[in-house]
Amino acid sequence: MLGREYTRREFLKQSAVLTAGISLLPSPLRAASPEATVVRTADPRVWRDRLKLDPAMVQEMLSRAMVQFTGEKVPKNAWRRLFGSRDVVGIKVNTLAGRVLSSNVELVDAITQGLLSAGVRAENIIIWDRFDRELRKARFQLNRRGNGIRCYGTENQYSSNLVIQGEAASCYSQILYDCTHLINVPVLKHHSIAGVSVSLKNWFGAIHNPNKYHSDRCNPFVADVSAAPILRQKKQLIICDALLAQYEHGPGYKAAYCWTPNQILVSDDPVALDTIGWQMIEEQRQQQGLPSLKEVEKLPDYLATAADDRHALGVHDMTKIRVVDV
């Protein structure tokens, strides 16, 4: 364990040198890494009652994960290692599934607290998704122009230029162009077409035409969309909301198919994190007596595509992914 932490710290130090002050690992460097790390925290006490989270517990869980992920001793330093006062940070949430199965406001609040503690200006934090109305339904308070942390939907603000990346051709949310850093906050859930929807699939919410890319189980489209320079060139952190998750009939919320892993996953490797998320969904399906995604021909093949040489978005090989449970 010590050895792993050391490696992580060394790696971060090395990258800090190599990238002249870049705090998160840019994708090309990450792809060159033989391994990926996914930090996972779990605590069943996080739910006060059936559908109510304890904000303090969420904060505590996230802090634990961030400390582990960065190798720092205290949460503030963990955030400072990754973010600074000049950064503009876009927090991409997932609010498609309404009040219950969206990125939890309590988790996003904890993230913004971390960013503020690192010196990021409140006005430079943008919580965003596709639409105002979906954010509102998911309990977020909109703030497009006022003081403090911003929160709004892309609505119709997409770049005018068409980005052609592999088989995808899309305009990307203007918000991406305004940010220096991205925090991707997906929800862990089954997706009836793609197999699973975690962090990579969450970028479908950043393009103007996701509806065009659901054929062939979203493969290679998820990988293509995620490999666009506008995403690749940003420093990305993934904080996956697996406090409540869904193992079947997603991405819409279906109470009967939800379970509470009570977990938060942190990584800078989206493929690795999604691969672990996929395994969690498979385990839950097995426990519930459901066939595996392979058996129902819903394997998320786009993960392997995302890891191939052409996309190089991260590590898909389970033997090369370290899961650190804290």
Binding site: L96, A97, G98, R130, F131, E155, N156, Y158, L162, I164, A169, S192, I193, H208, N209, N211, K212, H214, S215, H249, G250, P251, G252, Y253, K254
Partner: protein
Amino acid sequence: MQTTSRRKFLYQVACGGTCLGLGQFFTPWASASVDLTDGKHIFINKEALYYEKLENMDIRCKLCPKECEIGDKERGWCGVRENQEGIYYTLVYGNPCAYNLDPIEKKPFFHYLPGTTALSIATAGCNLNCKYCQNWQISQRRPEQTRNTYLPPGDLVAAAREMQSPSIAFTYSEPTVFYEYMLDTSREARKTDTGAVMISAGYMQTEPLEELCEYLTAVKIDLKSFRDDFYREICSAKLDPVLQTLKTLKRLGMWFEIVLLVVPTLNDDEAEFRELCRWILGELGPDVPLHFSRFYPTYQLKNLPSTPIRTLEMAYEIAQDAGIRYAYIGNINPDHKANQTYCHHCGKMIIQRRGYFIRRYDIQGGKCRYCRTPIPGVWKLARNPNISLHALQTGE
């Protein structure tokens, strides 16, 4: 909810409408774009037609051959139809994002009320994704991403009448995806003797098409190619359903014309032209006008050159040699001989055009003025016989 009053809508159309990416045209009709629309998006809870409910609040859309299976809170491939807790909604009903008063020749219709205008509208969305789409800025967007105005069917028909436009055209993007709006508008139009024409890729299932054709007065089909692989690779669709649509239109006795946009290296093969013409003759007969249209580089196919004129002329000659009576070339020199209509019997020029303008019109009572041979087409609307000659425009 913000709405556009009919008066304001009329003013907007008079000022040039909103028409995105309509490409290169040779006519002074092509008007400047103005943006006077009201709301960003105005969704009406209008349940979609032609879908079936599945388990777990999933649905299957049966409007077009894609037959999307859509989970709760998700949209179909076209991006303008959404499943909300097991009920499928259209998001573009009465919600156009582009409108203009166009000459009917611009569609192009050459055998339908020549010289008249069509109040032309589109909503966001398309069930294809042609890599050379000239209107991708509306067709490949969702309704939240276009500037829309609220114009329910009754208001749209009333606007057409106030503008003395004999027809309403559903065009620019792909009307299949705003089927409910088009159907209700066509029904309303029928009550007032206003024509309703659809400009479509023909990627629609037979049942909805049959219902719609009860109210339409003409259809133009954009046949993308006569090769299935072209449909799959360039348009994200399949050829067969489009051929089925053409056969259905023929069976129903609907007036229709076909356009083939000729894209260099992709669908400009001599053998393909020959096979296409043979199929048209065998299945649809010699009277269906066939327009070969010139491609200009755009959208995802900016790397290709414009179609050489000689390629279009080759296609035109192949069609004529094969026995297609009314072949045309579009998007080229407005005085080109292939932009004119010649009587298939005596060979005399019976409609002379300059771009979209009619300069000479020698059809009388639907017949060639010289030899009295009936000319296939719609030369007047059945219940409104005065329209065509009243509305005839002359360019100079």
